[in-house]
Symmetry: C2
């Protein structure tokens, strides 16, 4: 029997210069969407939760439009095709789709990316084989350009992007230091992922972080992969080697102050004196090179050269709680919501 | 009759978190230096005054050692060889030498760069054919990578570096906006130098500068060549186009606060959202490519494609006053001190 309603999570209130709260979201029901010609009806299997979504909850100017109050929260899912009005997809196909935080959605078949559950677990296409993996891969290799023997520092090291960055840097012959917010995460990146060292930033100020970095990287940091901003950014900027490269990939430390101009220490004199290159990264720019990424990463995963951990929460209704956990560093590994299993067909 | 004493200007006091004052310098006399084997005695013809010297007056950590109290102020000069104990140079030769703010100095012949007064006025080797010219040339072309039709913004536009940057960007087919601190300077860069527009920043806050930039560059700034830092930096960062390049070449606006951490607006979210590349530049890195620069710039000067203005102050004793003028934007064009004429031989 087919379901007749669609459960969705919508934006109920904007967090303005404050942390996200459960009441900022609303679980509601809507009629099942109906695909028109050329469209497909999709059923969400896994929903990806990612820090960028915090930006969409804000009206502050950014590179993308904000979610409006009452609208479904944006997000990428792995979905199964339930009904297809397009010859390129048939029911049972699995695809990457940006239908957001809901059980069902309708999109044009054109533009959906097919994913193959036989080649890798479907959830991987939202992580190590998806947007976070591509982010780590292209940002590190294209902007960071790490050379053997160099020291690479990555913040949010146990997160979806950080895991990939650190392991990739190890593959390139670098020394890798991770920064994470819990002893368990630090143990994970130095143990299972093979990072050379990890720093637990909790309870430490900039000076303490600088002192730890000086001990771990006496020659300075050659590549800093910045996922968080804030005082970790500052400590890293004070610890750079000559000709360092700094990749600005995220700023989760300031995401609860999006409506206010970020102020603090400015590093222009450091950038000049050390001839630092700092560059911002958005993965969308690299969509044309997805195949190149997939080929490399699939091979590395198969060969055991890249390991990968997910943090899967069960049930769409728990997405707000899991998202708040992600923003406060509660997850270990890529945060996902398991919404449904593929049909047995 | 040979002179028996050497007039020099030494550092008398460090300006700590304040503007430079005449009393920070002392004009003194010292015995004539005597060259050893392999060395030459040099007589200063022109002394170059440059903003980086402000950094050398401070003990704050930088890419070079500070001048000690009582030591001769550092600086590059065009000098004439008076006496040579090395076969590679003979009296009357003219060279670039880093002997600082003094009439005479001794250096090893090895490492001195010969300059030819028949090819260009000797003073040009301290400016458009010297360090500032090389700075503008390599920083704009190698980091800025301006493409035809793009908008290039340069601060301190009438200064030694700014003049070169703007004209070079015009040669590359760009639209060029200069920022300078006086109507006369603005008229100079739009008139004599052919910039498309100029903004007089005096008396304006960040918002006013952003509004002017929005009117002059509605599509945003593609290359920002930053010689000054401070609120002009902020206004430019708020006016960037996607994929903009920002060259950090100087920060004269904060040079009187070198002992204090620079704080203010931070632009990480802009860098991320617009995928900005920001890079620091020091000309020393490009010394191996000096010949390439000289060939291009000499040809452009000869062809009238690059124009160039100097601001020459007469007499070594006036160097402190001229240097303070440079830091406060009083000069129009490359600031030089004329110390002596070449001998008539």
């Amino acid at each position: 029997m087919s379901p007749t309603v669609n459960h969705r999570i919508t934006l109920a209130a904007r967090p303005v210069n404050r942390a996200v709260q459960p009441a900022d979201f609303r679980l509601d029901t809507a009629p099942m969407p109906v695909p028109s010609a050329g469209e497909v009806l999709l059923r969400t299997l896994y929903l990806s939760l990612d820090p960028y979504m915090r930006g969409r909850m804000s009206e502050a100017k950014s590179y993308a439009q904000p979610v409006q109050i009452g609208e479904v929260m944006v997000g990428e899912v792995v979905a199964e095709v339930v009904q297809s009005n397009d010859p390129t997809l048939v029911p049972g196909d699995t695809v990457l789709a940006r239908i957001g935080w809901q059980e069902y959605g309708v999109l044009p078949a054109k533009g959906l990316i097919k994913v193959d559950g036989a080649r890798a677990p479907l959830s991987h296409y939202l992580g190590v084989l998806g947007m976070p993996g591509m982010t780590g891969y292209f940002a590190l290799l294209d902007i960071g350009k790490p050379r053997p023997g160099e020291t690479v520092l990555v913040s949010a090291a146990a997160g979806a992007v950080g895991q990939v960055v650190g392991q990739l840097a190890k593959l390139k012959g670098c020394r890798v230091i991770g920064i994470a917010g819990e002893a368990e995460k630090c143990a994970y990146v130095t143990g299972e992922l093979g990072f050379d060292a990890a720093i637990d930033y909790r309870g430490k100020d900039t000076d303490a972080l600088v002192a730890e970095l000086a001990a771990l990287a006496p020659q300075g940091v050659d590549v800093f992969f910045d996922n968080v901003g804030g005082i970790i950014h500052d400590a890293a900027m004070m610890s750079l080697a000559l000709k360092a490269r700094v990749i600005i990939c995220g700023a989760v430390a300031i995401y609860d102050r999006l409506e206010t101009q970020d102020t603090g220490a400015r590093w222009m004199r450091t950038i000049l004196a050390k001839r630092v290159r700092m560059e911002g990264f958005l993965v969308f720019d690299y969509e044309p090179r997805r195949a190149e990424f997939l080929a490399d990463m699939t091979a590395w995963l198969k060969g055991g050269l890249i390991r990968y951990r997910e943090d899967v929460t069960e049930g769409l209704e728990r997405a707000p709680e899991a998202f708040i956990g992600l923003l406060t560093g509660k997850n270990l590994g890529k945060q996902l919501i398991h919404v449904a299993n593929p049909s047995s067909r």
